[in-house]
Every structure is written in C-alpha cells, then in structure tokens.
Symmetry: C2
C-alpha cells in the first residue's frame, strides 16, 4: 500500500468542494482512501489514525490544504494526486458559469426583500460577513463556529441596538415562517414556538412535536454560547419577546444546556411575563417545582415536547383575577419575615421563594451571600430557622416552647417595612400541647399593634398535622384563623401565595434585560427571502423550500491577508 | 419598669423545668417578662433585644443559668427572684416522689423489652448517653442537637457494626410500628414507608399522606447530617434496607435537603435495588428525569406525598422480563462508544447515562474529570461530539459529511472491549441527503468485522426526523435497520435502553455501601418499648400512645465535670 501526499500552502477552499473532490478520488482505480483537509492539528491526528500521516503532512500549517491518498500502487496514487487540480478547476468553472454577485452589497441589491443573511464561511471570516449583513439591516443566521466570544458579544450588541437578530454563531438550525435555515426538519405548522440555544435540542423537540401530531410557528436558534454570562442571552431574550408577541404562538418552548445561573434567572423572569405557557428544559438544571405560574419545567427533550403538546391542546384556563389586596398595606410595607420551627420547611420555603424574590436572607441560607449578619436581626426578606442549633443550647425546641417565636414575632411586627409574617405550626406528639393557644393571641396582638400604627399585617401559618393529632387539627386551625392568620396545610401552597403577593409589593421591571429595540414581528410573518454566504447546500435547501435566495460567490477578503482585512474592516466602520 | 437579674454559675437544669418556672413567674403580680436561660451568647443577644441585659447577665458564661425579670416595681421583681428557688425545689421534690432509675443500666433491667433509647439531654452529654445505649444493645433515637460530627460518625459506625440504628443527632421525629418518637403526627397505618434526614420534611410528608387518605408503615429519621460526605448516610442506608425488606411497605419515600453528590449517588444506587418504587425528594437536587426505573423524583414535599399515594394505589405493573441478550457478547465486551453529530443530544445522553454508569468520558464532558485526554482516542465508556469546534475547522459538519464518523466507527468497532455503538442520525434540510445510505453500509461492515473476530456489536441509531423530511424518515430507518442497527426516534428512550444493557455488562456491587450487619426487622415489628433520657414530655407521649416507657432520672455524669467525665467514659470502654 502506497501513501502519497501534497500540501498546498495558504489557499482558500470551500469545504463542500473538498469533500466532493475526495469522493471523486475514491472512485478512481486502485485508490483506497483519500483526504483533502486543512492542516489543523486535529486533522493531522485523524490522518495519523488512518495511516495517512507523511512527513510533509506533519509539517503542514493550519491554513494549508493537505491532499493525502492511500493507493494500491504508486501509479494509482500519482494519478489521483494529478487529478486534484483538474477536479478543482472543473468545479470552479461550473460556478463561474452561473451569474453570482461577488459581494453582499450587490446581492442585497439583487434581492432587496431578503431579510436574512446566512453565513457559513470559515469561522475566521464569519464575524466580518455578519457585521456587513447587520450594516445592510439584515438579520443574520450565523452557522459558522470557531467565532470568537468577543465577536459574538459585539455582533449581538449591534444587532440588539438595531432591532435585528443574530442567531449563532454555531447556530445549526432555525425554522422561520415555515422555512428551515441551515439544518432543519420539515415540521408541520402548529401552535408551538421554540427558542433553543443549540441545534439538535431544537431539532429533536421540533421533530417530536411533529411526530406527536402537533407543529410549530417558528423555531429560533441562538447559538450555544448565547446563554453564557458574557453574552447574556441577547438572542434568547429577543426570541422570547418575538414569540410572546406573535399571536399564532400559543405555547413557547425554551431549550438549552444549563445556562449561567444569573442569565437563567433573567430569562425565566422574562418568560414569566410572556403571557402564555412556557416549557423550560434547561437540561440538567434543578427547578424548584414542575410548574411555577406559566412556567413548566421539563427534564428531557421528549418531555419538553410532550408538555408543550399538552399545553397547546388544553383549553386555556381562565386566568384567576387574583385580588392580592395590595391596597391594604401602608406605603413602605414590603418585606417577608418567616419564623420557622422546622428546618426542612424553612429550606423548602427559601427554595420556592427563589421563583419570586431576588434575595431572601436567613440564618440557614441557600447561599452564603444571603446569610444574616446577625440571626437576631432580620434584613429585607428574611426566613429564620429558630430550630437551628444556635437557638437551642439550653433551651427547648421552638416546637415545644413558643417563647422565642412570640418575642421575635412582636419584633418583626413592629418593623414598618414588614408586610407578611410566615410561621409553621407543627402539631403531633412531643410538641407543645396547644401551640395555637399561645401563638394565636400573639398573632392577634401583633396585628392589632400594626393596625394601630396604620399598617396591615398579613400573617400566614402553615399547619403540619392530622385530624388524629392530640391537639386537634381543626381546633388549632380555627384558633389561628380567629387570630387573623391565613392558614394552609401545604407549605408549598402557602409559600407560593406569599411569593406572588411579595412580588407585587416589590415590583421590579418585568424584563430586567431591556431590549434596546424590539425586533419587528414582520421578520416572522413576511415570506422568507435570504442571501447565502458560504455552504451552497444551504441555498439549495432554501430553493427546495420555495424561498427566494441569492448565493454570494464569496472569497476571503484581501485574499485572506489578515492585516489587510483589518484595515478594510476599519475603513468600513467609519 | 425595673429589670433585675441573678446568675447561677455552672449548675445543670432541665429545659422543661426552666420553661415552666419562667411561666410561673410571669403569673406573679407586677411581673412583665421573665427568662430563665443558659448564658450563651445567643441568649444574651435575645435578652438584649428584650431589654433584659444587665451587667451581671452580660458577664454570665455558657454554663451559667441567667434568671432575669422585668417588673412594674422593685418589690415585684424581688418577690419573683425569691420565688425561683422555691419553684425549682418544689419541682425536684415531685420528681423524687416517683421511683425512677438513675441510670440507663437499671432502666434496661426494669424494661428488658425496650429496643429503643430516646436521648434528649443537652448536646454536650448526648453522645455519652447514646454510646451507653449502644453498649446495652439498644437502638437510639438521638433528638439532641449540638452533638459533634466526630461523635456522630463514631456512634453510627458502632451501631452499624452491631446491626443497630442511630437516628440523629438532631432527629426530631420518627414513627416506628405505629408509635411516634420525639415530635410526630398521628398518621394512619398504610403502605408507604419513609426515610427522611430532617424532621419537618418527614412530618409534612407523613401528615400529607394522611390528609390524602393514605398512611405509613414506618417513618425513619436519620438526622440532618446523615447524608453528608463525612457520615456517608449510614442510617439512611440502614433505613432503606429495612423498608426494602419490610413486606408491609409497598412504596418508599426518601426525603432530604441536598445530600453530598457522592452520598446521593450511592443512596440512589441502593434505592434502585430496593425492589419497590422509591419516591426521591432531594430538595433542590436536579434529577435527569422524572422517573428512572423504580425511582420517581419529586421536587417538593407535597409532590413526594402525591406521587407516593399514586404509586401505592396503582396496580403494580408486571416487571418486564427484559431479555438483554447479554450472552451474545464476547467476554471483555463492555464499553459504550457514542459518536454524535448533535451537541445537545450528546449532552442529554451523558446526563441520562449518569443514572446507569459511574463515568462516561467525552470531549464535551459533564465534568472536567471525564474529559478525554485525546478526543481522537476513546477510553472506557466514551461519547464524542464530532460537531465540536475542534473537529470542524476547514471541514464540513458531521451532519453533512459522514467521513469522520465512518472512520471513527470502524476504529471503535475494532476495539475488543466495545459492546455498544451509539449514533445520532439527523435528517432534514441542509444535512446530508442520504446519511443512512453512507452510515448503513459502514454499520454493516463494522458489525460483520466484529462478528468475524467472534464479537457481537450492538449498534443503536437515534434518528431525528419527520415523515416530511426530504430524506424520508421511513426509508432512512429501514436502511439502518437492514444494516443491523436498532433504531429509535427518541434520544432518551434509546439511551435508557443502552444504559440498562451497559449496567448489566458492567456489574458493580448493587449496594456499594455494604451494611456491616443488617438491622433485624423485628425492630419494626415488635411492639415498641423505650427508655427515655431527657425531655419528660417524650416519655409522656409514648405513654399516651400506649407504649411502655421508663424515664431515667438523669443527671450529668461527674456533676458535669468534663475531665472526670472523660475518665469515666474511658473506664467503661474497656
């Protein structure tokens, strides 16, 4: 077996062309293997595994083209290598026979209705092409990978300012107004809109929706890094906003690998104000519940699709016009003080409140940033676990001895910024024989003192007990209610009700990531037309789907000379 | 208003007595507030808030008793303080009128059937009492908190060696054979068994089960630190094992704040082999799915209870006698090699496989410990994302160009340790026009080469596509199946099937935390009898529930002198 190789320094070749030439070579007599690859370390590694690594191949640089052939004899190998130039030239000639614009500008003049530019040139050049597209007022589908993070941040910032979308880099797929961009399954039209960071997440969910008999409005890709801290989910926010405003989209699905926690929080906040159900699959992300208001959390792609179909087919429940009674509170009343005897209940409350409040302090907090400086002094929203070791040295547990809780309750009630007090009341053997008998009067006293000071105090008691408990569940509940407390036997239900109330008392901008300029809905509803720069198969796909498309006969600017490229780029910026 | 205070240095007082004396003082004329607390910093802080902090109180040490009174005048305050000794003595006298054993040993002689010792003395002394109980062959319910981690580890190790349980320290609650220990709701008997680390988690779930009309067999507490790395969930493993063997328990519920990841993994592994449904609520823990075989993941306490009731009432589905066909594989075949073109599919596969395999390596791993040293060389179980940037410089994406995947497929198939190959095949616009046409023959070739070498190769293909895709979903599936691949359109379903197969090919001890000596099931089924050391109300509860109980008239050993205590302890050890 003969191995022969050539190296062509620093010229630009289209990947499709290289793949096609290699497969032509493989058809030649005596040729066993053929590779036309750029001289990257990864490629050299693969050539080594394939037994195609010669010394000259080993010496090739990143920008060099390697042509390597394995053949049964010397003559076959030589013939194959000799054929390469012929094949490359033939292909080049075929392209030149079609009339193709050489620049984005002339392509835009030829197809003025094109709202989109698809970019799939090598990563090295892709940001430049995308910048050009934004300058021309086009939305960008940026398939290319190996684009720097700085370029991504800059591109998305520019796009956001102009009300344009940049899907990607490394965005493999999208479906806009029924037309697939890049890689895309043919999916039935239907009531579900998708925003997904990564390609195959979107494809798996959209294909599944189709298999389940449903379909999509639009599926917007963002690129895998969009939900990182650095990028800040610019595209995901734009996509969510578009689908929120799109009247055809009844349910939104949001899919991503785990985002940065802060970005996730902002995005979920935006999703909460979408005004329609949103299915969230942050794969591997721990949600505090299966459902929080309009958010539905899925743990797998299949489940995300299942949930979306269920939600889209369910008769929309009338939104409960919940009167939170906000006008009962005095100005300045806005904080929660939770005084727990049970550690796990306190912990679950903290976890659930994350869905509603940015920060809750505690002596047993979820994260050290929220640890109370002094367990005896509440700050802002606070949940104290009075059963923690620090409180029980030489003292009975608060489930047995109500003294400490009653003292603290009065202290909190006198704070003019406190709006809500939350207590757990645990019944059963071993605990205080009549907790409501002591806590009830204290609650009534606290509420009336607050009332004298012109304030309204919402007191919520979570009662843990059964109708067979020695204290009598009903009797305890009744005493607490007569004292003016709202009583629930579910910790989760009580905390969610409080969460909604406190959210309304502490209004934050519903969308803290402000969209500089919303993307015009027309981008989803006008017939899609596009300019394609890079992989010709993407243009062929658009044609096959009946969408007008212009292929740019793109070449690296300045012949690939980086210094010259930078100068040209600066000239255009001014 | 007059504040007066006394400090009694270094004497031991029972917390209940102190609470009762304080409430007697509060009934005296002119007394506004009264506190009998140990002189800890926390208590001094609370006294300061209450306006009861005098200079002598400020100077009190941890072991000193503070007696502080707020009264309308000097005479009332003086009268209250004068009353303290009288009240303490009266109470002491009442206790001495009953005959009570002074030691655990004599209590054990009085009630030889007692399987349990309840310990609720101050944390400082609690480990010593628990050690004594273990020496006497008793199980321990250790309510006390402020017990050191070292003591907990040592106690649980001793207990495990002797086939005894130590619930706690800081175990607030348990229900054994219908009798509540410590704090416990009165819960109907039923088919659900509980193991819970912390008190109120167990109480909330068991109360909810009762409210839902169901009930429990037993509810075993472990203490809040049991699921830490240091303790290693000794008690939780014992509890799970007991409930697995208990024929009355049809469903197990496992509740905890987030455990240490390694402990969680071991515990879930044990739960997988429980032979019955297990509902898991590791509050705030991200599960990869809602259900993995017999494990059902809940996100809140309410949901844990709901799920358990559903599972207990559902007709048990016949276990599918799934024939995994293990005998087709040659000895030594055991590893997975996944060759993905889609990053999100690869990521989801890694996440799901965590439920089945201890480690899967990748070029895009879940954690850096599992990063492949060389992306071109697989090790053990490996999933490669061939769409990662490193592979796509100057090369088409693997969804368009099958070359790289076919090369790697052959390489993996030739590895005698490989049992399963997993591929995703993504259809649609923009991708390869006939991926199965190229991958199919490569799969057939790989399988037949393995067969020639005496091996069986399981090839699984996840096909992402719709019946409207240009490639034709059915035709692609058919080609892959004809090549010998198993085809699924769900990534999750395919990966779970593979996971089960690989788990069987790589057997690990089903219970990697070996129980030194299983706890005898009698502890759950014999009528409960107990010895109580500490809070008398716990003895009163047991009596109220009809369980025989002996209260020990416990005093600190060696009058609380630590050096002497240590010497006494060492003498008993020998």
């Amino acid at each position: 077996m003969i191995i022969q190789a050539l190296v062509r320094p620093g010229a630009y070749y289209d990947s499709v062309t290289l793949m096609q030439v290699a497969s032509e070579l493989l058809k030649m007599p005596g040729v066993e293997d053929a590779a036309l690859w750029m001289g990257t370390e990864a490629n050299k590694g693969i050539l080594a595994v394939a037994g195609l690594l010669t010394p000259e191949v080993q010496a090739a640089a990143n920008d060099d083209l390697i042509i390597a052939v394995k053949a049964q004899d010397d003559a076959s190998a030589q013939a194959a290598l000799a054929q390469v130039d012929e094949l490359l030239t033939r292909r080049r000639r075929r392209i030149e026979q079609e009339y193709r614009p050489q620049s984005l500008e002339s392509a835009a003049q030829m197809l003025p209705d094109a709202q989109w530019v698809l970019v799939s040139v090598a990563g090295h050049y892709a940001a430049g092409v995308a910048r050009q597209a934004l300058r021309l007022g086009k939305n960008v589908f940026l398939y290319s990978d190996n684009v720097s993070l700085d370029d991504e941040v800059a591109l998305k910032q520019t796009a956001a300012e102009r009300g344009l979308l940049v899907m990607g880099p490394d965005c493999g797929t999208a479906i806009v107004n029924g037309v697939g961009l890049g890689f895309a399954n043919r999916v039935r039209q239907g009531p579900i809109g998708l925003v997904a960071a990564a390609g195959t997440g979107l494809q798996q969910v959209s294909a599944r929706l189709h298999q389940l008999g449903s379909g999509i409005t639009h599926a917007l890709g963002t690129g895998g890094r969009d939900l990182s801290q650095a990028v800040g989910a610019v595209t995901a926010h734009q996509g969510l906003d578009l689908l929120s405003r799109d009247p055809e989209t009844r349910v939104i699905v949001l899919v991503s690998k785990p985002p940065s926690p802060q970005v996730a929080e902002e995005l979920l906040k935006a999703a909460r104000s979408a005004g329609k159900p949103v299915v969230v699959d942050f794969i591997g992300h721990a949600a505090s519940a299966r459902q929080v208001d309009n958010l539905h959390f899925a743990t797998t792609l299949d489940e995300a699709a299942d949930l979306a179909v269920q939600l889209a087919t369910a008769t929309p429940a009338a939104q409960p016009a919940s009167d939170l009674g906000l006008d009962r509170f005095a100005p300045g009343q806005r904080y929660l003080r939770g005084l727990f005897s049970g550690g796990t209940l306190a912990y679950e409350a903290l976890l659930i409140l994350r869905d509603y409040l940015p920060a809750v302090y505690s002596n047993a907090p979820l994260g050290k940033d929220y640890r109370l400086a002094d367990s005896l002094v509440s700050q802002a929203h606070t949940i104290v676990d009075l059963g923690e070791d620090e409180f029980t040295v030489g003292r009975l547990h608060p489930m047995m001895d109500n003294d400490l809780r009653i003292r603290r309750l009065q202290q909190e009630a006198d704070d003019p910024e406190v709006a809500v007090l939350l207590l757990d009341v645990v019944l059963g053997y071993g605990v205080h024989p009549d907790p409501a008998g002591e806590l009830g009067p204290a609650i009534a006293r606290a509420r009336s003192r607050a009332a004298e000071a012109g304030r309204y105090l919402e007191v919520v008691a979570v009662v843990v007990g059964t109708d067979e408990d020695p204290q009598g569940l009903d009797a305890q509940v009744q005493q607490l209610e007569e004292a003016g407390a709202r009583v629930d036997t579910s910790n989760e239900a009580a905390v969610r009700t409080i969460g909604r109330l406190l959210q309304s008392l502490n209004p934050t901008p519903t969308r803290s990531v402000q969209l500089a300029k919303p993307v015009n809905l027309d981008v989803l509803h006008q017939p899609l037309a596009a300019i394609n720069v890079g992989l010709e198969s993407f243009a062929a796909s658009l044609e096959a789907q009946g969408a007008p498309v212009i292929q740019v006969d793109w070449r690296p600017p300045a012949g690939g000379n980086e210094k010259l490229m930078a100068i040209l780029e600066r000239m255009k910026m001014n």
